[in-house]
């Protein structure tokens, strides 16, 4: 059959780690998930194939604080394909203490619609 493609995923729902097989139909409009052991796995296979997303957590430089780095994360999940780019984009960022948890460090990072926010308070040293 032309146009049909099969993709493989490891389910992350539990330690069983079911080997999922996701097959796209000829038109590429729908997928069938096989190999799952529960509903979580079935839904995960579909999501992971059609629109995989990740929360990106990294850190930025902070001056005058108790520590040299301020931990940050995206306020929501971003497309998986953008994870490296998002991390790279915030690498040059530097802020000054004090910073409050929840502060937006980079707004709308790379046009994803999500912000990079501080995940802790950083008081002055």
């Amino acid at each position: 059959m032309t146009g049909e493609r099969i993709f493989h995923y490891l389910c992350i729902g539990c330690p069983l780690g079911c080997r999922l097989e996701v097959e796209e139909n000829a038109a590429g409009t729908d997928v069938e998930v096989r190999g799952w052991g529960c509903k979580t796995g079935k839904a995960y296979g579909r999501q992971e194939h059609t629109d995989p997303r990740r929360v990106v957590a990294t850190s930025v430089r902070v001056s005058g604080g108790r520590w040299a780095r301020l931990p940050v994360k995206t306020s929501g999940p971003v497309p998986k394909a953008m994870v490296r780019d998002v991390a790279r984009a915030v690498r040059p960022v530097a802020v000054a203490a004090p910073v409050a948890a929840g502060t937006v460090i980079v707004a709308d990072v790379l046009g994803t619609g999500v912000d990079m926010i501080a995940t802790r308070d950083m008081e002055r040293a």
């Binding site: 995923y9 490891l10 389910c11 992350i12 729902g13 539990c14 330690p15 069983l16 780690g17 052991g37 990740r54 929360v55 990106v56 957590a57 990294t58 850190s59 430089r61 108790r66 520590w67 040299a68 780095r69 931990p71 994360k73 998986k80 994870v83 490296r84 991390a87 790279r88 690498r91 948890a101 995940t119 802790r120 308070d121 008081e123």
Partner: protein
């Protein structure tokens, strides 16, 4: 969050908690809930929060707080409860000694050497990472061999990268998390090597930390040599047979400047040994009853110092229980003594707590020795529960209702995990 520091140390406290990580923070809050008035929470680091500050990734708190948080966010929530509870926090202070009458000797940056007496003590010192010496990797002794958790602190808090080309030995979760973390910082992670035929970390981390970045995971493979004079220059890896013996005919070299070790944790029980607490040889932590009280009355223990947890959420829950029991102890409420011993049987490495009483609901944590699917967990003849799977890397927790123990008159229950 700025936690107010203790200005004046009192000579006596109702409850003193040693270690202000997730276990200690929850224990202090638990003690406050039960009416302990003067509570002192001590940590050797410069701030309370423990390992959580360096675990900047996402995925904590689903069980305990009902949402997914990063480590620092989880820490901030715990700390807020500590601060709201008016608990005294003393950082930069090491609990140097403890005596069976619950006198603690402290070595403090701001207070010098001091002694405090405690109505009850909670031991919450956590665990430390196994190092190169623990598995005796042959080779030279260059710089650049460090534990994954130390690298995590370097990168996420101190702003230091441990190297440029990294090999990771062991597939524990911290190692997997660091594979991703270093990759996002532009460091080349050449591979993760695991001596066992299965990965130790969560599938979630295998996928999101390795597969997402095309980092290879080699199972049944280990590092057999580390080379380098001043700095690591390379390692030799080799596949192992079923007896874990390396096959040197298939060994190959990898050029790298750093080796991260993610090879397990050891409960920090030096303090427990000072007062000869009874330790469980399997967990290397104190033997505890159903209130998390150790073999010495008034001394409680919780978190990784008792047994290694895989989720912080369960540390918090177990420690809240320990703290409440410490609070009860100093306010004169003593629960009925435990009357049932749990005996680990088939495919059970250990159970915590080690004993139960028949009057209350209990949560029993246990770890299995080998993976099993479609199995039954049996507590003697009184209670059994069917589970889809068990894995050594995933702690099992079972809630035991008092009704199952009502008509049980023995003094011990054997716990088995058996195939259906």
């Amino acid at each position: 969050m700025i936690t107010p520091e203790v200005r004046q140390l009192a000579p006596r406290y109702d409850v003193v908690v040693s270690g202000a990580g997730p276990a200690g923070m929850a224990a202090a809050v638990g003690a406050r809930e039960r009416g302990a008035e003067r509570i002192l929470l001590i940590d050797r680091e410069r701030e309370a929060g423990g390992i959580l500050w360096q675990c900047i990734h996402h995925g904590f708190g689903l069980h305990h707080f009902g949402e997914e948080l990063t480590g620092p966010e989880y820490a901030e929530r715990c700390l807020r409860q500590v601060t709201d509870g008016g608990i005294d926090v003393l950082t930069d202070t090491y609990v140097y000694d403890i005596s069976p009458d619950r006198t603690l000797t402290l070595m403090s940056g701001s207070h010098g050497m001091r002694q405090v007496r405690a109505g009850a003590v909670v031991l919450a010192m956590g665990a430390r990472e196994r190092t190169r010496g623990a598995i005796r990797i042959p080779g030279e002794r260059p710089a650049g061999v460090l534990t994954a958790g130390l690298a995590q602190k370097f990168v996420n808090m101190m702003g230091l990268l441990p190297g440029r080309r990294v090999v990771i030995l062991g597939s524990g979760d911290i190692g997997l998390i660091m594979a991703r973390r270093l990759t996002l910082e532009g460091v080349e992670v050449l591979g993760v090597f695991e001596i066992m035929p299965y990965a130790n970390g969560l599938n979630r981390n295998i996928v999101q930390c390795l597969h997402d970045f095309d980092i290879p995971l080699s199972l049944s493979t280990t590092v057999v040599d580390i080379r380098g004079r001043e700095r690591v220059e390379g390692v030799t890896v080799a596949p192992v047979d079923q007896a874990l013996r390396p096959d040197m005919s298939r060994a190959h070299d990898i050029a790298c400047d750093t080796v991260l070790l993610s090879i397990g944790l050891i409960p920090e029980n030096e303090l427990s040994r000072r007062i000869d607490l009874r330790l469980d040889p399997v967990t290397s932590g104190p033997v505890v009853n159903s209130t998390m009280e150790t073999s010495i009355g008034g001394v409680f223990a919780c978190g990784n110092v008792v047994h290694i947890h895989d989720l912080v959420d369960f540390v918090s829950q177990e420690s809240l229980l320990a703290g409440r029991a410490a609070g009860d102890y100093v306010t004169g409420r003593r629960p009925p003594a435990d009357n049932i011993r749990l005996l680990p049987g088939d495919n059970v490495a250990y159970c915590v707590p080690h004993t139960l009483s028949t009057d209350r609901e209990h949560v029993v944590y246990m770890r299995v020795r080998k993976p099993m699917e479609k199995c039954t967990i049996r507590f003697g003849d009184v209670f059994s529960v069917k589970v889809r799977y068990v894995f050594p890397a995933e702690m099992v927790n079972i809630t035991m209702k008092p009704k199952f123990l009502e008509n049980f008159h023995g003094d011990s229950l054997r716990v088995d995990v058996v195939q259906r």
